[in-house]
Structures are given as C-alpha cells and as structure tokens.
C-alpha cells in the first residue's frame, strides 16, 4: 500500500481525509492557496505544499500545480475530496499517468456520470428509472423549446456538465424557458466549461434521496443505505439524514438494488452516490416511485451520517479499494444500519436570506457530547474568505432513533459558538423546531415554505 497521500482539497473535507490517513499510519500532505496559508487543514497535515494564488483556477483547480505538489512531496497517491478536481476525468488520468494511485473511480466512470445526459441514457439502458428528459444535450433555445414540448412542463433546466445546484432553474412554460435558457447556458459555460443543457421534467413535490455505494477492488458493488437530502436552499443541501423518514422498506430495497445496478453499469470502484428524486403525494401513503437524477463519483459531503449508522469509515474503504484490498467489513454481509443520524451544514451565510458573509472568526467553540460529531475546517482566528464555498463545518448527531438524534442536535446547535463571519446556525434552531421537519414528512420545498 502507498505510504504518503496528497489530499488535493481544503477545509473540512481535507481535515477529515487527513485524520483517517493518520489513523492508518499514512503520511498526509496538504495543499493550499495563498489565502489558506496556515489554515486548519494545513495545520492538521504532516506536510503541506503551496499551490498558488487564492482564486481556485490558479490553485486548487490547477492540475499541473497539484501534480507537481504530489511529486515534490513524494506522495504515491492522491485523494481529491469532493468538488475542485474530484470529478475531473482528465485529472484522474493524469494522476495515473504520473505513476500515482488515484483514490477514486475509473476515469471512464467519472466521464460518463459527469455528463448528465449520457448518464441518464446509460441508466435508462440498464433499466434504472429516469424522469422524462432530453436524450441529447441542448445548446440552442429553439431546440430547447421543441424538446420541452415533448417532455412536458414544469421543467428543470440544468447544465449537462454541472453539479452543486449551480445554474439550475425550474420553468413553468415556454416564456419562462426562453428567459432562463440563456442564463443557464452562460453559467454552464462559465462554471463547467460546457454550454450544453439538460432539460428534465421537474417532479414536485418530491424528496431528494440518495444511495451510498462502494465499488470494491474485486468488482463487486455494495450499497450502504440511503440519505435524505430534501432540506435545500437554492437547490443546495443544508441538512441530511439517514435513514430517510419518507422511504418504506420496500422502496429502500428497490432503490438500493437500482443504485448497485447503476454502479455496475459504469464499472464503478470506490465510494459513490446515486442521487434520486422520490415524488411525494402529501397523503400518508409512502411513495413508491423513484427516478435517477445523477451519480456523484466521489465521497459526498454528507457521508458522515452513513458512517454514524453503519460504524464504518468510508475514507478508509476508499483507501483500501484504491490499494486493491478488501473492505474492512464482509461484503456479503454489509453492516446493518443502527439508529438514526442527521447532519447540519454550518455555512458562513446569514440565516434569513442565506447570502454569504465571509469574515475573520473571532470566536469558535465546537459542541461535544454523546453521539455528536463535528467535521470542521476552521477555528478561532481563521479567516473565511470569499474565494471558496461557504461550508465551515458539519455538525452531526447520532441517536438510537430519530427523536433522540434531533434532541442531541438541538443541544449541540445551542452549544456551537461561531462569531465573526455570518453564520446559519440560527436557521437550524428554526429547522429543529419546524413541525414539518420534525414530523419527517417534508420535501425539497421545505426551506422556501419556511421563508415565504
């Protein structure tokens, strides 16, 4: 097995990967931009290499500089975290060509799943349900209007090469589509380097439920339960939980089987997530249908809730798969889900309008207690800059059941002190007191209803 791992990321996820590397006796090398000199992930690592100036294009997204950092630090393997270069197939190839171990799925799998149109087509071909949508990328507004007539409104306009909710918008009819298309195309080009657009039937109301999969070194794929990610603002997740309170055992079984099939279809290895929409009816009958949305070919932000209910370390499994080793559990009997876990994303943003508010952290105190886990990328004195995403920390709670987990979270939120930047912790006080959320019968419209 490799002995030194370059962690090609920053903030909480870099800290989290470094922690597992060190627990396993591996040396962890951090990378950083000028804006992140002395950042928490740099302090946590055994060694650190400066990449370049603050803008991500000149540092964390610069393939040549990251590869050079691996070379000068003597790393034999690269862990990309999530975001930045994690789903960049060319980077994955370059890492391998440089004689290093890529801690992630095969480049071809990244490529297929990274193109949302190709991914939907590949899933439909193996019988995984997809919502009505375009089977070819759309770049022209006239083509979009024609395709939309066949798919039906309301529609979701998405960047085919996109992710993270950026450049996504819902439209109710042709006029709105014409207005939204140009913006979506410009954003797609700017953020993802391709103007191609995917049109997809917008299923609403719905829950956003995803399945954690792990492709093993021997080619087998195991599913490690689901996560409900329906608490969203601007199509981006703010809280996640497992098990999903809206998924019946029968639906779960079918979703997990479909996720395994999806991963097999692209020869998947390592940790990945199959995201689905589960339309809800509002009546107490549990939903029965689900539709494939996309597959994230990397470790997911919200992976800790899965770790809390299964007791396994997903980063450790990633390292073992990359090294050609079996997982730490018996693949024929994956760990059973025990209890309930919830994650809250602590963002540097105001709790009312969710607008970013970077700044110097003047006070920072993380809560602790039974079942509480905090994954954090910052501490007192650190500067939260406008250059990167607003995630400062993830606050998770495990409990023997959902009520117990929510109770522990209420105490932990009250005990989490963040001063300096804007912070969305007060939003979580509201969320944990919201009847709809507490009942478990919520959908992706929850946060906008809380703000209307």
């Amino acid at each position: 097995m490799f002995e030194t791992v370059l962690v090609a990321n920053r903030a909480e996820i870099a800290v989290r990967v470094i922690r597992t590397c060190q627990r396993l006796g591996l040396k962890a090398v951090a990378v950083y931009s000028e804006a992140d000199a002395g950042a928490r992930h740099v302090r946590a690592a055994d060694d650190a290499v400066l990449l370049g100036p603050a803008p991500a294009q000149q540092s964390y997204l610069d393939v040549d500089r990251v590869l050079e950092a691996a070379k000068v630090s003597g790393a034999q393997a690269v862990h990309p975290g999530y975001g930045f270069l994690a789903e960049n197939a060319d980077f994955a190839r370059r890492v391998t060509e440089a004689g290093l171990t890529w801690i992630g799925p095969p480049a071809d799998a990244i490529e297929t799943m990274g193109d949302k149109v190709a991914a939907r087509n590949a899933m439909a071909a193996v019988g995984v349900p997809v919502a009505p949508g375009s089977t070819e990328p759309v770049t022209d507004v006239g083509d979009a209007v024609r395709a939309a007539a066949g798919i039906g409104y309301p529609l979701m306009v998405k960047a085919a090469a996109g992710g993270g909710g950026i450049g996504m918008s819902a439209v109710d009819g042709e006029a709105e589509l014409r207005a939204a298309f140009e913006t979506a195309r410009t954003r797609a080009e700017r953020f993802f380097g391709s103007p191609a657009i995917l049109l997809e039937r917008y299923l609403t109301p719905a829950r956003h439920v995803e399945v954690q999969v792990l492709g093993l070194a021997d080619g087998r794929v195991v599913a490690l339960g689901e996560r409900d990610c329906s608490v969203q603002r601007r199509h981006q997740k703010v809280a996640e939980e497992t098990p999903s309170p809206g998924v019946s055992p029968q639906l779960r079984e079918r979703m997990l089987a479909a996720a395994v099939q999806a991963a097999y279809a692209v020869g998947y290895r390592g940790a990945g997530t199959v995201e689905c929409l589960v339309p809800t009816t509002g009546d107490p009958t549990p939903p029965e249908q689900f539709y494939f949305l996309e597959m994230n070919t990397r470790l997911q932000v919200e992976h800790p809730v899965t770790e809390l209910v299964t007791g396994i370390d997903l980063v450790e499994q990633q390292l073992r798969v990359a090294a050609g080793k079996p997982p730490t559990f018996d693949p024929d009997h994956p760990p059973a889900v025990r209890g309930h876990a919830v994650e809250l994303r602590v963002y540097a943003e105001d709790p009312k309008r969710f607008l970013p508010g970077p700044g110097r952290i003047t006070a920072w105190r993380e809560p602790s207690g039974d079942g509480i886990r905090v994954d954090s990328g910052y501490a007192a004195g650190d500067l939260v800059t406008p250059y990167y995403d607003p995630l400062m920390a993830k606050l998770c709670a495990w409990g023997p059941d959902r009520d117990a987990a929510l109770d522990r979270l209420r105490t932990a939120v009250a005990g989490f002190v963040v001063e300096g930047p804007k912070c969305n912790l007060p939003f979580f006080v509201e969320l944990l007191g919201n009847e709809e959320f507490v009942s478990g019968r919520y959908d992706t419209g929850l946060v906008s209803r809380m703000r209307s």
Binding site: G164, E349, L355, P356, G357, P358, P386, Y387, D389, K422
Partner: protein
C-alpha cells in the same frame, strides 16, 4: 439626490454592468459580485444617472464599500 450603493458583504467584483453616465431604473443590475461560489447582483435603489462606478472587475470589496453612486 445622489444614492450611494454599497457592498453588503465581502466579495469579488465579477462583472461591472454599467458605466458612469448610463441611465438606470430602480432595480437594474449595476455590478455582479461573487462570493463563496454565488453570484450576487447589486441593484440600483433609484432611477437616474450613474455618477460613478467605484469598483473594477477583479476587485475585492469589503462590507460597506462604495459600489456606485446614482443620481
């Protein structure tokens, strides 16, 4: 009366949409800021003539910094 439009947060100036001398309506976008992977349009709070645009593309603005003045 001149209306001063100021930055609500620390951000990078991504796009300057108007120039000094342009006529704008209340609600028109003057400048687009970018902070933490989000685009934040800065809109005029008055109808009138742009007297001054105080920022350039690529600048970093602090909370409270002057963005533009509209008369």
């Amino acid at each position: 009366m001149a209306e001063e439009i100021r930055a609500e947060m620390v951000a990078n100036v991504w796009k300057v949409v108007v120039s000094a001398g342009d006529r704008v309506e209340d609600g028109d976008t003057l400048v687009i800021l970018e902070s933490m992977k989000m685009e934040i349009p800065v809109v005029s709070e008055a109808s009138g003539k742009v007297l001054e645009v105080a920022v350039n593309e690529g600048d970093v603005v602090q909370e409270g910094d002057l963005i533009a003045t509209v008369e």
